[in-house]
């Protein structure tokens, strides 16, 4: 069997394993969907009136629902990534991982199984969160192609952050650490253009907000879904996602191969 077909076959076996875990123990998935939904409701119904007024003379709660949704979608991705880090760290404590390492299989398939499983899980979470956003007043203007592109952007950033969280799960020496390490990620949509426009921030914060990876992703989503300007954000988002994916893939692979008795 060629390396590629071996990789595909073993990865899909491991994907089935991860999907089975998720289906059998869905509480984690629900918990991970809960966080972005709560934040969405909080920001639309509690802060939304005031924050909406800050968007411009005609700004109100319903306009803020539109504004905040791309940020909420990224919160969903980050929340799911935290779940991935936890489940990878938990998996590494299982004896079966040692068995996988002594089998003649595509070695990173344990990791690709986690990544693909999380990708499926996150896309489903995103769909659920989008439905809630629509219910609270999110009114996208996107056509079918723009929707498809938005799904693509979300898949891209999910893929990147999932590889990052797999690496974080592997680098953690305990499940608790794995749960805490991805925490700062949840701040990034706030420290970007997710909840308020960056030009309302003080210079130092604004510089960070403008140049961190989440902002171009959120701006691209906003442009695709709501028709605001995208500019160079699209290409910047793609580059960020590619760099994070590739870098974290090799990091995760190296972590998995080191210290093989663990």
């Amino acid at each position: 069997m060629s390396t590629l077909s071996l990789a595909v076959r073993d990865s899909s076996t491991m994907l089935r394993r991860n999907l089975l875990h998720m289906r059998r123990y869905p509480s984690m998935t629900f918990l991970l969907i809960g966080i972005p939904i709560i934040i969405l409701l909080l920001f639309v119904y509690v802060f939304g009136g005031t924050l909406g007024a800050g968007l411009g003379p005609s700004g109100d709660r319903s306009q803020y629902a539109n504004y905040v949704t791309p940020g909420i979608l990224l919160i969903t991705v980050v929340s799911a990534a935290q779940g991935t880090a936890i489940s990878v760290a938990m998996d590494m404590t299982e004896g079966i991982i040692a068995r996988f390492r002594t089998m003649s299989i595509f070695r990173p398939s344990v990791l690709t199984g986690h990544v693909l499983g999380s990708l499926v899980q996150t896309m489903l979470s995103l769909a659920a969160v989008t439905v809630v956003a629509l219910l609270v007043g999110f009114r996208p203007t996107a056509n079918a192609v723009e929707w498809l592109a938005a799904v693509g952007v979300l898949a891209m950033i999910t893929f990147a952050l999932t590889w990052l969280s797999v690496a974080l799960g592997l680098v953690s020496d305990s499940v608790e650490t794995a749960s805490n390490l991805p925490m700062p990620l949840i701040l990034l949509p706030f420290l970007g253009s997710g909840f308020v426009p960056t030009d309302s921030m003080p210079t130092a914060v604004r510089l960070f907000a403008d140049y961190q990876p989440f902002t171009p992703v959120m701006e691209t989503l906003r442009g695709l879904l709501l028709g605001t300007g995208i500019g160079a954000n699209g290409i910047i988002a793609v580059i960020w996602c590619a760099v994070i994916s590739v870098g974290c893939f090799f990091w995760a692979k190296a972590l998995y191969n080191r210290n093989r008795t663990a």
Binding site: M1, R9, D10, T13, R16, R17, L20, H21, R24, Y25, E94, G95, I96, A98, R99, F100, R101, T102, M103, S104, I105, R260, T261
Partner: protein, 325 residues
């Protein structure tokens, strides 16, 4: 039983240290195809490390090893295709059912669907897990879990199996069931390297036994050979009357007599040759013996003596005279 004498595992001068701690200090092994080889030693002797190295889980710091001619360091995947490992800690997926665990293995061994299903049904049946196949492994008992673990190892029909303390923590009944399975595997021609702290287990199962202590092999041989390595073996002669005992005690001056029991304990390695000469001596002195029993030391005695633990037998009269080999 087995006619082939192919070496399945050959290891030369395996070394492994963790920091300053030397875990393996130059291990040589030669394990013949189709035999059961037991690696015996106390906790921390290096048993698990040896298994981890030979099963490609960790790299040795020095030395080399081959499994059916495939070098561990250069062709790990070729080795992995030939081996199966059941470690000390259960290597099952607790979130899946027994059948799902086996299906996972069948898929990873690249069996086609029909062949995989047949193999899984056979294994479930063979390991008495058919009834529990649909239940999550987290509900299994220790013995069931261990059987599933071994069944998973066997899905790919490995030619070499590593069993790291396969019966530790099992109740006597489950242990006997496991022994039965291990013997059956060896009878099919599978080569088995098992580690154990139970001397009885090595005695019961193994064709050859190696003692591991502080990362070194301190003795190797068949269980019988090993038992002869140390003093303490003897033949007990039982007499019908005091007269016979007196006569015999004069003939064997190295012996210890027990007047109350009318027995005489004669030092012996328990081998056929020495028994024959003992019987010849009895014959020529016309001593009639009511009963005779041979006592070889058990592996416990061997191990304690070889590792230089306090020798409880030091006071025995036959201690110095016993043959070295």
């Amino acid at each position: 039983m087995t006619s082939s004498m192919n070496p399945a595992i050959v290891a030369t001068d395996l070394r492994k240290s963790y920091g300053d701690k030397v875990v393996l200090d130059g291990i040589d092994l030669m394990i013949t195809e189709g035999t059961i080889f037991a690696l015996l030693g106390p906790n921390g002797a290096g048993k698990t490390t040896t298994v981890q190295i030979l099963s490609t889980l960790i790299d040795a710091d020095g030395g080399n090893a081959r499994v059916f001619g495939h070098d561990l360091a250069r062709e790990p995947d070729a080795v992995r295709a030939l081996i199966g490992v059941t470690g000390q800690f259960s290597a099952v997926d607790n979130l899946l059912t027994g059948r799902e665990n086996l299906t996972l293995m069948a898929d990873l061994c690249h069996l086609d669907k029909a062949a995989g299903r047949r193999r899984i049904a056979d294994l479930l049946d063979q390991f008495d897990l058919t009834d529990a196949a649909g239940k999550p492994v987290s509900t299994y008992s220790g013995g069931m879990r261990r059987r599933l673990d071994l069944a998973m190892t066997l899905v790919g029909e490995p030619r070499v199996i590593f069993l790291d303390e396969p019966t530790t923590g099992l109740d006597p009944r489950s242990r006997r069931a496991m022994w039965h399975i291990i013997r059956a595997l060896a009878a099919e021609g599978v080569t088995i390297l098992l580690t154990t702290q139970y001397l009885e287990e090595a005695d019961q199962l193994a064709d050859r036994v190696a003692f591991l202590d502080h990362g070194r092999l301190i003795a190797e041989g068949t269980p019988r050979e090993l038992k002869r390595l140390i003093p303490g073996g003897h033949v007990v002669l039982q007499f019908a009357d005091q007269e016979g005992l007196d006569l015999a005690a004069r003939t064997f001056d190295a012996a210890t007599r027990d007047d109350a029991a009318l027995t005489l304990q004669v030092p012996s390695d328990g081998g056929v040759g020495s028994l024959r000469s003992l019987l010849d001596q009895l014959d020529s002195a016309s001593i009639s013996v009511a009963a005779l029993s041979v006592h070889t030391p058990d592996l416990d005695d061997v191990f304690l003596t070889l590792t230089g633990q306090p020798d409880t037998r030091a006071s025995r009269p036959d201690h110095e005279r016993a043959p070295a080999r």
